[in-house]
Symmetry: C2
Subunit: 111 residues, 2 copies
DNA sequence: TCCATATTTCAATGATAATGGAAATATAAA
DNA sequence: TTTATATTTCCATTATCATTGAAATATGGA
């Protein structure tokens, strides 16, 4: 992962509404949630939410799919794992630290 | 960890210079690095670096200690672990995901 | 004390981001 | 086709952040 990619992802998360939305989606798992439901749960007006979801999408942290009239958003777990790995990369000069070698979540808990 | 605390930490990391500095300190381990050395390695002018280090300190991501005329900065590993845990908390609704239960790095690799 | 070095603070400028109502678009059910 | 619902785009306003040279401060050595 490149520094700029990580900055984009971190900037997307560095905002109260977006962080709340992202965590909601992490907890929702691969099934995801429709935009309206997110708006309702997080208490964010639709237009603001749309703006924030676009930021999260652009950063690659969430993906969306269409289901009838609904747009369902879900967390991109591999993007999250790459970000966490980037932050902890070569920790303490690569000595015997408990660096992440396995992903934190494979995003397939619902199988 | 509270949402606002996490936003502060993420905002501190969501900037190219600061992310580079932070990763440098993560790699440096508990020993840390003096400000001048960071400025030199990262290619950031002292006044800019000072501004960025203050942001990282305020966010609790780095700490500093004085050693003669030098100010030595080092990464706060427990803050990082709390942040990572917060991001992945209750992932997939708390099902059998590989959630972090052990810290990624204890920051004591040099012992 | 005096000087050299390390780091921080100050200040002015320029750039980027957040907000939410109203209007536009899209989809599907009646 | 008409209507209701879901979501996005547009826009103007407001707020916050990044940059860096010059000056100030702090510390230790000569």
């Amino acid at each position: 992962m490149e520094n700029k990619t990580a900055v984009t992802a971190l900037a997307a998360l560095a905002q109260e509404s977006r962080l709340a939305v992202y965590r909601l989606l992490v907890q929702a798992g691969t099934e995801g949630l429709p935009a309206g439901k997110i708006s309702e749960i997080a208490g964010i007006p639709p237009s603001s939410l749309s703006f924030h979801l676009k930021e999260l999408s652009y950063a690659g942290l969430v993906t969306s799919r269409n289901e009838s009239r609904f747009v369902i958003y879900s967390a991109n777990f591999s993007a999250m794992n790459e970000l966490l790995a980037f932050l902890t990369e070569n920790c303490c000069g690569g000595q015997a630290c408990l660096s992440i070698t396995t992903p934190v979540c494979d995003g397939n808990c619902d199988d």
